[in-house]
Symmetry: C2
Amino acid sequence: MEKIEMIHGSGGQATSDLINEVFAKEFWNGYLAQMNDSSVVAGGAELALTTDSFVVKPLFFKGGDIGRMSVAGTVNDLLMRGAVPEYMTVGFIMEEGLPISDLKKIVHSMAKTAEEAGILIVAGDTKVVEGHGGLYINTTGVGFVPVGMEISPAQIEKGDVILVSGNLGDHHVAILSSRMSIENEIASDCAPLNDIVRSMINEGVPVHAMRDVTRGGLATVCKEVAAQSGKTLMLQEEQLPVSAQVKDFCALTGLDPLYMGNEGKLVLVLPEEAAEKALSIMKASHYGEDACRIGHVLRFEEEEEMQIKPDGGELFLKTAIGGTRRLSVLQGEGLPRIC
Amino acid sequence: MEKIEMIHGSGGQATSDLINEVFAKEFWNGYLAQMNDSSVVAGGAELALTTDSFVVKPLFFKGGDIGRMSVAGTVNDLLMRGAVPEYMTVGFIMEEGLPISDLKKIVHSMAKTAEEAGILIVAGDTKVVEGHGGLYINTTGVGFVPVGMEISPAQIEKGDVILVSGNLGDHHVAILSSRMSIENEIASDCAPLNDIVRSMINEGVPVHAMRDVTRGGLATVCKEVAAQSGKTLMLQEEQLPVSAQVKDFCALTGLDPLYMGNEGKLVLVLPEEAAEKALSIMKASHYGEDACRIGHVLRFEEEEEMQIKPDGGELFLKTAIGGTRRLSVLQGEGLPRIC
């Protein structure tokens, strides 16, 4: 067994061999061991559910691989609702010709990331399709939301502060560099953010809203949050954290870090008085060293002064030279298949 | 917007337009309306989780389409554990060039099937990849298992009876006919089996184990059940229900209905004394009219007589001419991409 062949999708002996030789040894736990159609797991009062398919190309890149991304991405989506990630299902769609050795590396990476994130993989599925050795992974996550926990854009209040957990654009540049065979030191930031989020919640930081910065970049995420909350957000260009290397890369390519995807960063909206505590918790975490304040939610008097509709759900950028630019979600294509 | 283009995968405006114009109107509910990273849903005591990717080709076929399959298949997997299907997530991986009109038909079919099955779609994801208009759908299901409900091969006892809810092979032949442009009246049996399963549970039928007959066919499913239970199962060839049309098709093509996939049939193992009640419930249901008894679990004295290892977890077929054949799971390829 060196490469995925159509026979591995038969549902018969070859599928069973593949599951035993590649997946079972990495993902083994009591739930999967039952090999049933569904896994029955322990339950909670409120469930968070999220699903994501990963189609990133190439499958391996500096700082990560599709496997680590597929676990971290779904874990992060659960965390953003204040949920404790508990269970995950994984679905593999494999193209013929996928080297089994690559698949094993990816599955191992998923197992390691799931362990890091404290999430249990309880059900899986494999399918094989024609193609040229590609791989798509769907992960679906289940988490439990503590009673009374309500983290969503609806909680945002005027005057709230906006923080981000670190540098923008790293994942995007890592994928692009890898695809264009550009040599540099920029690694993807792909990571599960349990430590940052659980620490904040455990220490009682009153988070109003949280989103991970992925496809579409910070501007898209902030514009979506603004629209959902009805509040208007103002970002400060000078405060946006971008590493020197990514800045250089963007200067050369004309890319805008505001619209570039990360896979291990979150943006946080919370009351001014809690900002310092949140920042110090983030900075103390392995994945939050470059956390900083990047903006705030407009107050009523600011909306009046700017002569904009109150509660219009807009997003603005105060530029480095003092102008004010209205930002929308990503228009046009962006880099395809970064996640 | 006529065809899926790479821009629909950007995560920006075009993705948002696609979601609003195609998905939101079909799947709309209070959970999806929140447009958050995860959906938080009401919880229960024990959860059943299952995931499945659907890669069937062609996307439309007599009796169904990939959308109906993707909902029914996951609903059925939940039902097989005795769970009440409650919530579902859907992940779409779309190839460039997929006609939006096809996508709309498929999404509508999913919405209708979800309504029929009483399951709520609470989270979704879309990705676009290069290709030639293909579509893959992942569905992940969450159900609640009533306290004390234990349906699994471990419950199987010697002397139990094996039932199947209807004719074998219909889905397999429908896909194959459609792919080879063979004209016939054979339609896929693709359907959610809530009615059959919930009726049996509500009327107190003591089901020991249940599996839906999919990829790999009845023999593969029964062999897996046998192996998991440690008990040996005996099927009666003469009792296997196959429609006259499928029989003719198999005679011409050399296919074996024992290894052909269905998408709306289940096999049931339960005590002899409950068999008649179960059969009458199935026959009264729209999708179980052709239900019948197809075999039993070997008793100790039968194992002795056959001189086989007791509790060997094997599967046998008593052939129409009186022979006994040992059956294994599907060897080799089967028809690719029937599900």
